[in-house]
């Protein structure tokens, strides 16, 4: 069977779109062929800056004959419905037959598409694919109406087998498919005809085009490594950049150049970012010093001077770029020396964070207050945490971060160290945005943790307070990511936090302010929650305290905070699903006290998950459910709740008495284990109930004739439920 070769030759396709376009082309053509009834084997797509190419192997010359069935309107339906159906199907009324099913009589159309030559249909599939191609951004050009990523110039479309090649005949907006293409823009000239994929690939290579992007990337990477290695250096790996650069050239020529001595002192991140963002250069590092000392650039052609002119030009551009970077770096350092990081941060008072949440400076002040409250809970010194929070975002006002936003935090670390901050403050500047993604490192230094938590909790409480919560697929302020960050910070560092107290405190700070007495009240709230200590403090604050309390109670803080805790529980379920803990287990433990303590919830859930995997666990769960079901049924029937204390003196059977004994010994053991937060021990204590409960259900008839005995047994079942519910609400567990 012949192979299909398709090349769409255009002006330069953005590098970032090429890979996806290849996948789309492959998928759309294959789907189109299948739908048209054309058998084919696999396809493979390729791309260069100027062409998108697809080869499909073993494309059938004839279509399969396809039988289709369509159900039409009901017999007796309005004439318009029938005519519409015929129009849609392109059928005549005489072709219809009437069939009957359970709902009545319907018109049916059975059509057999006979086997026909494929070539015309292939043309249609390709044309439709071109016309409807899903480019992320497309354009028109000249006076035409066709849309493509950039002007489309030629189409090569041939079916090839041993006997030769045949052009698939079609035209799109005046561009006629043919069997020719062209090579490299500068290193070849003229169009040439091709007869097969192999011929195409070979002729392209002769015309200085490497068709396969993977081959270009490999070539670039190997040459880059070798050039660096020859001088005892190493290339800084960057897969994303490699793919992009491979998409910018048809004939890669790798060149290595020098970074002027003046710039070697810049932070390596600055060199790397500047070279990558502006010039798409790879960085070359000296493994001995760790410094970036050279760069790799990839040209699109060979030259008579072996790239000398090209390299000189690139070096010149780099010089100008790095002069800028150095200028920013030195200005920033001067600002820091003169005014400290606080001085650098001063302009943030004029930068709006969100129109309902004030300026960046106001947000920083709130984060500082919260970081101070969190500090003792995570083992950090409050003053250090506050200091770090105060300066952590100063670099947002630096010239360097203005130029390279991705260096936020990284520059903060350098500037903080330069300003003389110490004791984990510079690290906190760099780390307080972390963790960003699910695989991002989680900070563990106490000061970093305090600021990282305060940063995220302020964002969450802030947007919750103004009712800008994520909905569906919309999460413009990345609040899901922030919540996940908090969860990972808490769990990785084994932190025990009352989230709702922190939420209450921060929401009230946002809504009512946090100056003077209010600040003290909020600090107490963050540590103690709305309990006795709070009342004492409020009373001590006199009229102002009472006024604040009234405002706090009418602010809706409780509901907002509860809603945010619930959001955290949802995020926790998503997070723990990947850890093998199912959502129903979490629901089962969420009814337990202190559900806002994420680490506690997880400890309970882990212990319960492990327990449910044991034989005792599964059986005990069944025992619980059985007890629960019987109770529910009987309580419903009798219209009473069997919540009284069962008495062993009414126990008649041994199994019944044994269960009393087992419960009496398990209950204090479970309570003690829970108090000690030894959930494994609690599970173990509970496991001791399995045999007596099984035995009970096997030998004892709950609904005894004697009403006293029956009532006592039902109360005993309730006691099973109560004892086990000290650990979790087992009824929430599925299965």
């Amino acid at each position: 069977m012949p192979d299909l070769l398709l090349e769409l030759f255009s002006e330069e396709i953005p590098a970032r779109m090429q890979a996806r376009a290849g996948e789309d082309l492959s998928r759309l053509i294959e789907e189109g062929l299948t739908k048209a009834g054309i058998y084919h084997a696999g396809s493979k797509a390729f791309s260069t800056p100027r062409r998108l190419t697809l080869t499909v192997s073993d494309v059938a010359k004839q279509t399969y004959s396809i039988e289709t069935e369509a159900k039409g309107p009901r017999v007796g339906a309005p004439e318009a419905a029938l005519q519409g159906f015929l129009r849609n199907q392109g059928a005549e009324e005489s072709e219809l037959e009437i069939r009957e099913d359970s709902k009545g009589q319907y018109y049916h159309l059975s059509k057999t598409e006979p086997s026909v030559p494929s070539i015309g249909l292939i043309a249609e599939v390709v044309e439709a694919t071109i016309r409807n191609f899903p480019w992320p951004k497309s354009m028109r050009w000249g006076a035409g109406s066709l849309r493509w990523v950039r002007p489309l110039h030629s189409i090569l479309c041939i079916l090839t087998d041993e006997e030769g090649a045949e052009v698939v005949p079609f035209a799109v907006d005046g561009i006629e498919a043919g069997n020719t293409t062209e090579g490299h823009r500068f290193m070849s000239s003229g169009r040439f005809a091709v007869t097969s994929f192999d011929d195409y690939e070979a002729k392209l290579k002769a015309a200085k085009v490497v068709l396969d992007p993977a081959e270009r990337a490999d070539h670039i990477w190997e040459d880059a490594k070798n050039l660096a290695f020859a001088q005892g250096l190493e290339v800084v790996e960057d897969r994303g950049l490699l793919a992009e650069v491979a998409g910018l050239v048809e004939w890669p020529v790798v060149l290595m150049g020098d970074i002027a001595e003046d710039f070697i002192g810049l932070p390596p991140e600055v060199l790397q970012t500047s070279m990558k963002e502006h010039q798409k250069f790879f960085s070359v590092r000296d493994p001995k010093s760790g410094k970036i000392v050279k760069f790799i650039t990839v040209a699109n052609r060979e030259t008579a001077d072996n790239g000398k002119t090209i390299l000189a030009g690139n070096q010149k551009v780099l010089f100008a770029r790095l002069s800028d970077a150095k200028f920013f770096w030195e200005n920033d350092l001067r600002t820091v020396e003169r005014e400290g990081l606080e001085g650098m941060a001063a302009p943030l008072a004029n930068v709006t964070f969100h129109n309902k949440l004030g300026t960046q400076a106001e947000r920083i002040a709130r984060i500082e207050a919260l970081a101070r409250e969190i500090a003792p809970l995570v083992g950090a010194k409050p003053d250090l945490a506050a200091e770090a929070a105060r300066v952590a975002k100063a670099d947002l006002a630096s010239e360097m971060v203005y130029e390279f936003p991705e260096l936020q935090g990284t520059m903060g670390r350098y500037y903080a160290a330069h300003a003389g901050h110490d004791d984990g403050v510079p690290e906190a500047c760099a780390e307080h945005y972390s963790p960003l993604g699910p695989s991002d490192d989680v900070p563990s230094a106490p000061v970093s943790v305090a600021v990282a938590l305060a940063d995220k909790i302020d964002a969450l409480t802030g947007f919750w307070a103004i009712d800008e919560k994520p909905t569906g697929s919309k999460d413009p302020f990345a609040l899901r990511r922030a919540a996940l960050g908090v969860i990972r910070l808490v769990l990785n560092n084994k932190l025990r936090l009352h989230m709702d107290r922190l939420f209450d405190s921060q929401i009230l700070r946002i809504k009512l302010g946090g100056d003077g007495v209010k600040g003290k009240l909020l600090a107490t709230l963050a540590t103690h929650g709305f309990h006795t200590e709070m009342e004492t403090q409020i009373a001590a604050a006199g009229a102002e305290g009472q006024h604040w309390k009234d405002a706090a109670f009418s602010s809706g803080v409780g509901e907002i905070s509860d809603d945010l805790v619930a959001f955290f529980h949802d995020r926790l379920k998503v997070y723990l699903r990947d850890e093998g803990i199912s959502h129903d287990v979490i629901d089962a433990v969420l009814a337990m006290p202190n559900r806002d303590d994420i680490a506690l919830v997880v400890m309970r859930a882990e212990a319960l998950t492990a327990f449910l995997k044991t034989d005792d666990g599964t059986n005990l769960l069944q025992g619980y459910k059985r007890a629960n079901n019987i109770l529910a049924a009987e309580e419903k029937k009798d219209g009473v709740a069997y919540e009284g204390t069962p008495d062993v003196k009414f126990a008649e059977e041994d199994a019944e008495k044994d269960l009393f004994t087992a419960l009496d010994s398990a209950e204090p053991a479970i309570s003690a284990a829970l108090k000690a937060e030894d959930f494994a021990a609690a599970m173990q204590a509970m496991a001791a109930l399995r045999a007596p409960i099984d035995q009970f259900f096997e030998t004892v008839q709950v609904n005894a004739d004697n009403q006293i005995v029956r009532r006592n047994r039902l109360c005993l079942l309730n006691r099973i439920r109560e004892v086990m519910q000290k650990v979790a609400i087992f009824s929430a567990i599925e299965g």
Binding site: E11, W141, F186, L248, A304, L311, N350
Partner: protein
């Protein structure tokens, strides 16, 4: 034996001055059929603002023009000290509607014409989508790199003044100083020969512009009276509106005369005043968006008016 073509081979082909590069571009695009226009006589931020581009890219009438446009970006002023940043500089602009199928080749030809040897240099078309919020315009294209340096912007206009472009115009913008510095091998713009260095009175770019860069930098950043500028902005905005509110039929001549161009002059004025206010640092982040929106509203009205005129294809 010297023929005209001999001048255009390697070595002999190198231009010797800024103005020679400019003249070669004029000659080249003239040879390709463009009307060589003169700069627009108003302060603009880029060649795109010239009505020959903004307005003429609208409507169905074919169009081909090329021109130098002195451009002003007050915030880029560096008192003449930065090697390649200026508050006043030149752009070379080519606009052809509909965009010809060989526009890339025509463009490469222009680089050859100013002495860039394609056999030695690495020319690349790197994705860069263009958008002008004040013009309500966007297009797709590239920045053109020569050995890693951006030497031009290449754009297929898709929308201008909120209107879809049908047909599409192809726009080329050359940053003349940067391009010339590269071709001439000069590191600081002020050192660049403006006329032929061999002439009796050789002048560098600095001889002509260093002092003005200083004067304007000072005025732009520190002296321009912001109250006056704010007033100018309001006045231009009001006048633009007033011009377009006038009935299409001129009572004096009895002719239908829609004054799209005079109105557009006011939009240009507002845009430049906004740039000055920005340089004076009196526009906050939130206000910035509002000002841009007001300028866009003006250009949009002018575009709406232009397509009602004969040049706009009405």
């Amino acid at each position: 034996m010297a023929t005209l073509n001999d001048g255009f081979t390697m070595g002999n082909n190198a231009p010797r001055s800024f103005q020679e590069i400019l003249l070669r571009l004029q000659t080249y695009w003239s040879g390709k059929g463009c009307a060589i226009l003169q700069p627009y006589d108003m302060e603009v931020g880029a060649g795109t603002f010239h009505p020959a581009t903004t307005l003429r890219s609208l409507g169905t009438q074919p169009w081909a023009a090329a021109y130098v446009q002195p451009s002003r970006r007050p915030t880029d002023g560096r008192y003449g000290e930065n090697p390649n940043r200026l508050q006043h500089y030149y752009q070379y602009q080519v606009i052809i509607k509909p965009s010809p199928p060989d526009l890339q080749e025509l463009y490469l030809g222009s680089l050859r014409a100013i002495g860039i040897d394609m056999e030695l240099h690495d020319i690349r078309f790197v994705e860069d989508d263009w958008e002008s919020p004040t013009l309500g315009a966007w297009g797709l294209g590239w920045e053109v790199w020569c050995d890693g340096m951006e030497v031009s912007q290449f754009t297929y206009f898709q929308q201008v003044g909120g209107h879809d472009c049908h047909p599409v115009s192809g726009e080329l913008t050359y940053g003349l100083e940067r391009l010339a510095m590269y071709v001439l091998g000069v590191d600081h713009v002020m050192d660049m020969p403006f006329n032929d260095p061999q002439t009796p009175i050789p002048l560098t770019y600095g001889d002509i512009f260093r002092q003005t860069e200083q004067e304007y930098s000072r005025w732009n950043f520190d002296v321009a009276d912001t109250d006056t500028l704010l007033k100018h902005f309001e006045d231009a905005e009001a006048e633009c509106q007033r011009i377009l509110d006038a009935p299409a039929e001129d009572p004096k001549t009895g002719k239908r005369i829609i004054m799209a161009h005079p109105a557009y002059d006011q939009a240009i004025k507002a845009s430049h005043v906004f740039n000055l206010l920005d340089a004076r640092g009196v526009i906050s982040v939130t206000e910035r968006q509002a000002y841009i929106g007001r300028v866009r509203a003006l250009t949009k009205m002018c575009a709406d008016a232009f397509i009602q005129t004969p040049a706009g294809g009405a």
